[in-house]
Structure formats: structure tokens, C-alpha cells
């Protein structure tokens, strides 16, 4: 699990049977008491469908109760300029799917902050007021046995000094190339190896447009193996699917997807990419999320994956590209 604190926003990402949403009311109190921040500007709550929903606690046992909890929380407040919340199921309800609740500024000029499905986003040229905001999440299951093995840690040999969990985490990151997903020197990586198995890491990344992050969480046990990779380093020119190297040395979107999936070798995966829709699109050009979809397919098609879902969304201020893939059987 991870928690990221920026001056204006918080990201709380928690696994297992944690009570994530029960922290929300306290977060709102803290923001008001300590920072005089009394208005929510935007909120996203999302998760992949649970493998064991019956084990969840509080509102997290069912998506509908999570949506009710969030609706009730926002209805009990007055956040000037904030639209109404909306909950979505993305992908197959009778299979792996992804769930999203979103609430944002109501006067974003489109649909009052509501999310609507749009198979191919219209090409519009909007002046970019600020560098576009990208957040990619790659959620992977059915990890290959060779990929799972390094995340099981055996007892230290008799008499040998046992590495700390952070030392073991750093060693694993180095052996698997996790510390090389982004250019050396750009990243401060904080890794942790859990006993007897499991791995988590946060990274702060210095890039051309400022500071970003990525975070990785791995559950390696067969039967319920899972790995997630989330990153908000902007792709900019790296979004396009030609493999021209980027000036700031950051990987293109295609390279990033291939590096991450090569480490975890998932049998199934979904990719979500949020792009703030201020992103520039030349008139008649292809919207960033459509370009992203092509890159997803290109990155994974040549690695033996077949796309099983492709869905694009537009909503106030953000566009979303969602796609799921499965490894083709030999």
C-alpha cells in the first residue's frame, strides 16, 4: 500500500482488507484543520474487481455500497463548483473488470463532469493551458512462475546477517530491473520485501516537467498472483507510437509497457491511462487516448498478447483509455 502527499492532492492506495474509504472523512478534516483546504476540487476512486470480495470489510464488500458511501459523503458537504459523483463499471461484468467513481468541477464545458463512453474521441484542438496530466496503471494477474519466484524470500543462511526488508527490496529491484524502468539517476526508489513473500515500492521521479512518481505492489502467490504498476510521468512526445527516443531520456509509452510486462510476465492485464484533456491535438489529428490505444496494442501485440477489451471515455477535464489483454496460448 502507498500514500502520496502533494501540496494540493493525496493518493491513498491500499490492498488486502484495508478500509480505504473510512480514511476519507478524516482526510477532509485534516485538510481543513491543518491547511484551511475546505473544498474538494476533484476525486477519483477506482479499483480492479476483487478476487475475494467476500473477504472485504465495511463498504468495500460491494461496488454499489462503495458508490453509496461516496455519494453520501459528497451529498453531506457543500463543495462550491463540484459536480455530482458518478460510478462506472468498465469491462466485462461477468469477468475481470475495473470500477471507477469520479467527481469533478461541474463547469468543465462538457457533460457536467459526467463520464460517457466514446469509442473514438473527436479530434479537437484545444490550447494546452498546462502540461497534460497523465496517469497510467497496469494491473496484472496470473504472473508467470519465473516472474513470481524472485518475490519469495528464503530464510538467511545460518550465521549470515539477514538483510533488512528495505535492503532485500532494493536487491530484488536491482536483480529484476525495477530500478531501471526509468533512466538511472532520475529516480529515488524506496523498496520493501515482505516476509515470506511480496514486494512494494514507491519511486519519486525527476523528469523534464518536474517531479512524478511510480508505485509497484506485488502479490506473488500462485492462485491469486497480482502486480500493479502506476505512474504519472508525462509522456508528451513519448505518447506517439514511433519509437523515437525522448529528449529527457524517459521511456516512450510503448517502452514503458514492454519493460513492466517483461518483469511480471502476466497472463492477463488491464491498462488504464488518464489524460487531462487539455492535451494538444492538432486539428484532424488523433486524440491522445486513441493514440494511446494504438500504442497499447502495438506494445503488447508483438509480445504475444491479444486485446480483449478496448474502451475510451471522455469526461470533464480528463479522457480515459481502458484496454485489457490476455496472453495468447502457444
Amino acid at each position: 500500500s502507498s500514500f502520496f502527499v502533494s501540496p494540493h492532492k493525496l493518493i491513498l492506495k491500499t490492498c488486502g482488507t484495508t478500509l480505504n474509504l473510512y480514511g476519507f472523512p478524516r482526510i477532509l478534516e485534516i485538510a481543513a484543520e491543518h491547511c484551511n483546504m475546505r473544498t474538494v476540487h476533484r476525486c477519483f476512486y477506482s479499483r480492479k474487481s476483487f478476487m475475494f470480495p467476500e473477504r472485504q470489510l465495511g463498504p468495500h464488500r460491494e461496488w454499489v455500497t462503495e458508490v453509496e458511501y461516496l455519494d453520501k459523503l459528497f451529498k453531506g458537504r457543500s463543495d462550491p463548483g463540484l459536480g455530482t459523483g458518478a460510478g462506472y463499471t468498465v469491462g466485462k461484468v461477468n469477468g475481470d473488470h475495473w470500477l471507477l467513481y469520479v467527481i469533478g468541477p461541474e463547469d468543465t464545458g462538457s457533460d457536467n463532469g459526467s463520464l460517457h463512453e466514446n469509442i473514438s474521441a473527436p479530434a479537437t484542438s484545444t490550447p494546452s493551458s498546462s502540461p497534460p496530466d497523465y496517469t497510467i496503471e497496469i494491473l496484472m494477474t496470473k504472473l508467470g512462475a519465473p516472474a513470481r519466484r524472485p518475490f519469495f524470500y528464503s530464510e538467511a543462511e545460518e550465521g549470515a546477517t539477514r538483510p533488512t526488508s528495505h535492503e532485500q527490496g532494493a536487491k530484488t529491484a536491482n536483480e529484476l530491473g525495477i530500478d531501471a524502468i526509468l533512466p538511472e539517476g532520475s529516480t529515488t526508489l524506496d523498496s520493501f520485501a515482505f516476509e515470506p513473500c511480496g514486494y512494494s515500492a514507491n519511486a519519486l521521479v525527476q523528469h523534464g516537467a518536474g517531479e512524478g512518481y511510480f508505485t509497484i505492489h506485488v502479490t506473488p502467490e500462485e492462485g491469486w498472483s497480482y502486480a500493479s504498476f502506476e505512474c504519472n510521468v508525462p509522456f508528451g512526445s513519448g505518447l506517439s507510437h514511433d519509437a523515437t527516443p525522448r529528449e529527457d531520456g524517459m521511456p516512450t509509452l510503448l517502452e514503458l509497457i514492454q519493460r513492466v510486462t517483461a518483469i511480471f510476465q502476466p497472463g492477463n492485464l488491464s491498462i488504464t491511462l488518464f489524460v487531462s484533456s487539455e492535451g494538444e491535438v492538432e486539428p484532424g489529428g488523433v486524440a491522445p487516448i486513441e493514440t494511446a490505444q494504438r500504442v497499447f496494442s502495438r506494445a503488447l501485440g508483438i509480445k504475444g498478447y491479444r486485446r480483449t477489451d478496448k474502451i475510451n471515455y471522455e469526461f470533464g477535464g480528463y479522457d480515459l483509455a481502458f484496454a485489457s489483454f490476455e496472453k495468447k496460448h502457444k
Binding site: 500500500s1 502507498s2 500514500f3 502520496f4 502527499v5 502533494s6 501540496p7 494540493h8 492532492k9 493525496l10 493518493i11 491513498l12 491500499t14 490492498c15 488486502g16 482488507t17 484495508t18 478500509l19 480505504n20 473510512y22 480514511g23 476519507f24 478524516r26 482526510i27 485534516i30 485538510a31 491543518h34 491547511c35 483546504m37 474538494v40 476540487h41 476525486c43 476512486y45 477506482s46 479499483r47 480492479k48 474487481s49 468495500h60 498546462s130 494491473l139 526488508s165 524506496d190 520493501f192 515482505f194 511480496g198 512494494s200 514507491n202 519511486a203 519519486l204 525527476q206 518536474g210 517531479e211 512518481y213 505492489h217 502479490t219 502467490e221 492462485g223 491469486w224 497480482y226 500493479s228
Partner: protein, 72 residues
């Protein structure tokens, strides 16, 4: 050994209180560039994380963001 399954898929909550960090008014003194939510003491966050059922394992502090690694 009967191991009970672990739910890896995370719950991801992202809350924005302003459009950007630049939009955050500085309250009090900015300590080494820190402002807004980054001025909240770690203990206050840890008390909130107790409600969520998470413990802080470590923190790395960047120029713009503090990244807490947690255990369930």
C-alpha cells in the same frame, strides 16, 4: 500449510483540493518549499492510516511529493 488468499488488487483514492500545487495558497511559513498538505505532521497522517488499517513502513520526501510506503 493452509495459506489464506491475499487480495492484491488495490483500492485507489485520489483527492484533489486544488487544480495544481501552484494554486495552493501558502499558509504560515513555507518550510523548505513545503506547503499545503505537505505541512501536515506525519503523526496526523499515521492516525488517519490507523482508521484505514495501514502502518507506515518508510517515507521518501521529494521536491514536490512525500511518498509513504505502507503495510496493510
Amino acid at each position: 500449510l493452509n495459506v489464506s488468499p491475499f487480495e492484491g488488487p488495490e483500492k485507489l483514492l485520489e483527492i484533489w483540493f486544488a487544480e495544481s500545487a501552484d494554486a495552493v495558497e501558502t499558509i504560515g511559513t513555507e518550510q523548505d518549499g513545503r506547503k499545503g498538505l505537505r505541512l501536515v505532521p506525519r503523526q496526523v497522517w499515521e492516525d488517519m492510516l490507523d482508521i484505514v488499517k495501514c502502518k507506515v513502513l518508510s517515507v521518501i520526501e521529494g521536491r514536490e511529493t512525500d511518498a509513504y510506503l505502507l503495510s496493510e
